[in-house]
Amino acid sequence: MSEQIKVKMRGENVCVHYGEKQALFDVNLDIGTNQVTSLIGPSGCGKSTFLRCLNRMNDTIDICRVTGDLTLDGQNIYDRAIDVVELRARVGMVFQKPNPFPKSIYENVAYGPRIHGLTRDKTEMDEVVENSLKRAGIWEEVKDRLDQPGTGLSGGQQQRLCIARAIATKPEVLLMDEPCSALDPIATAIIEELIDELRENFTIAIVTHSMQQAARVSQKTAFFHLGKLIEEGDTEEIFTNPQNKKTQDYITGRIG
């Protein structure tokens, strides 16, 4: 990573336990400002777990215990002085499984702006909703049925709706857990374009199972294996000249 990139979020010696079982072992990882960081690794290696640490969604799991230091703009996010609600407003998340609310499509997107009071009147809200849906590449499909339930959309449409919902809140950091897992190549391209565009103003961490996608959208890549961060660095470096044998095996398809 070049020197002038500022660190937006930093994890130091992050360990996560689910009950007795340890899911993450001493992870040290920086997320650079206005960069896309992709997390790759075989299934069950702890990518989602790490992502959930970054906006403290692990708090909602009773048996989950997080140790180590996690900071946002230099401030410890597990500090008592931090309001977790405010933190999550700044660090948004798109989940691995699409989870639209059982409300209308419009209300799904308007949810965040509404609870945070981001808009003053209906026209402004309409604009935010339309804009978010457009950027998530789903506007054309749903513009005539904004009042229908979001749960009635197809899996891929739901996924894009959830992305629209997350960006409507205008978070500083956006965590995306396999946002394209149910999308066709065209929709995937739109989302990747969106990610690239969002990078100008936001910081993004994305979990993906597609090497090509990681290579296309991210500037930095981190490779996880069995709960350990094996290697991290510039995406180009990782994909062309991995230092670790395991990384090489994974990206060439020998493990995973």
């Binding site: 906006n55 999550r88 948004g92 989940f95 989870n99 949810y111 749960t151 919902r165 997350a166």
Partner: protein, 460 residues
């Protein structure tokens, strides 16, 4: 005799099962080229069912008709000189006497024809009993022979057996439906009789309810008025009070249990809450009369309010306590049935817990919550005991909860207690009230079911 016969039938069925299964086993062993259609067990079950079931039906029919047949035979065998000119009621007496004598209890010195009748009765009963056993056994042997002869390797014993079982299930559900229809028909019939005596518009729109009319000529009573509005109004008042108590408490309890309470606390508290619904309503009744009503009365007097000793508030409030668990338990289940990912999604947007509950969880769980509320409401409308004991009997049109009111169920009880004649409008009014009540709760249940169905669709 019948008891032994049932044991015999069971034994025969077991033997039949064994025979059928052995036959099935043999088909399997002998199978060459052709495959055996059904497992040996199905062959056994097929034979057993067709041996046991007809015998059982025969037994039941026999028991139902035996007494009638013997009675009429006995009656015609009595000496004409003794029974000539007797009314049916007197004949009945004679028959009863014969039966008591036959069962061994002899009072005084019965007339000779009675003694003789009793002897005949005992003899005939013995014959009938043996005839029953003989016929059943013959029937079973016949069926065994017949069904056994039908078995073969390609015989579809499984399908045949399953057809019998599904027939049985249809029979059971039809029995339940027929009972319901029977109740409705009798309600309709009696209500029709009532509306012959009292015009419907008076019943549905009349504001005066004084059903205590004279049944016999010499009684002193009012002329009677059957305007049901105050009665239904009373039900409405009590149910509203009960729901006003139960809905907020139940809902907040549910939210607390589902979202804030620890798993351990919930596991302890929820069953305890559900006990509330299991307490006998009589117990609630005297709790209302002896504890709540005096307390309300005292509080009312302190504040200078005129309070009736039987207040709607006492009955409604206690009823509200009783139906809390309907709302809290069902709402708790509904809230917890909302997928975890919903609340995760909301929290991840930076919503507070309260926002998540009010904006995502409650709307998503609304159908389930409505179902609970409607169930509680139909329970409140149908509840009798608490109101009988605590609310009073006089039908007044009042919204003052400190006054006494009466409800539909209470009126039905009072109409049918004491001196009743089944053709007086007083008694028949109970059926009309019951019919309307039935209709109202039916509607509520249909609405509740509809809502619950919609709810199911949402997450599947």
């Amino acid at each position: 005799m019948a008891g032994y016969l049932i044991l015999t039938i069971i034994a025969f069925s077991l033997i039949a099962f064994w025979i059928g299964r052995s036959a099935g086993n043999k088909f399997v062993a002998d199978a060459q080229g052709t495959t055996v259609h059904s497992l040996p067990g199905y062959h056994g079950a097929f034979v057993a069912v067709w041996v046991g079931l007809p015998a059982l039906v025969l037994l039941l029919l026999w028991l139902v008709f035996q007494d009638n047949v013997i009675d009429s035979l006995l009656l015609s065998s009595l000496p004409q000189s003794e029974i000539a000119g007797l009314t049916p009621a007197q004949l009945n007496l004679v028959m009863t006497e014969i039966k008591t004598v036959a069962s061994g209890t002899i009072f005084g010195e019965p007339a000779p024809h009675i003694m003789q009748g009793a002897e005949t009765l005992t003899r005939w009963r013995g014959i009938a009993g043996w005839a029953m056993v003989a016929t059943s056994v013959c029937l079973m042997l016949l069926m065994l022979f017949f069904t056994r002869s039908r078995l073969s390797a390609r015989f579809r014993a499984r399908n045949q057996f399953e057809a019998v079982i599904s027939g049985l299930m249809i029979f059971c559900s039809v029995a339940a439906i027929l009972t319901t229809i029977g109740i409705i028909v009798s309600l309709l019939y009696e209500s029709y009789a009532f509306f012959q005596l009292v015009p419907p518009h008076e019943f549905f729109f009349g504001l005066n309810w004084e059903p205590q009319i004279a049944i016999r000529e010499d009684q002193v009573a009012g002329a009677g008025a059957f305007g049901a509005v105050p009665v239904f109004y009373g039900t409405l008042v009590i149910a509203t009070l009960a729901m006003a108590v139960a809905t907020p408490i139940g809902l907040f309890t549910a939210i607390y249990l589902a979202e804030y309470a620890s798993e351990r606390f919930r596991n302890i508290v929820k069953p305890i809450l559900e006990i509330l619904a299991g307490v006998p309503t009589v117990v609630y009744g005297f709790f209302a009369v002896l504890t709540v009503a005096p307390a309300i009365r005292e509080a009312g007097t302190l504040m200078g309010l005129a309070t009736s000793p039987n207040s709607a508030l006492a009955a409604g409030g206690v009823m509200g306590i009783m139906i809390i668990p309907f709302i809290s338990s069902l709402s708790d289940d509904a809230i917890r049935a909302v997928p975890r990912s919903m609340s995760d999604g909301s929290l991840a947007m930076g919503a507070t817990r309260a926002e998540t509950i009010t904006r995502v969880l409650l709307p998503a769980a609304l159908p389930g919550i409505m179902g609970g509320i409607l169930l509680a409401l139909s329970r409140a409308i149908g509840e009798t005991m608490i109101v009988v004991m605590a609310a009073g009997l006089i039908a007044t049109m009042t919204i003052n909860p400190l006054d006494s009111v009466t409800t539909v169920t209470v009126q039905i009880v009072t109409l049918l207690i004491g001196d009743t004649a089944f053709d007086s409008p007083k008694t028949l009014a109970a059926f009309a009230l019951g019919l309307v009540l039935f209709f109202v709760t039916l509607c509520l249940n249909v609405v509740a079911l509809r809502i619950v169905q919609k709810y199911r669709e949402q997450y599947e």
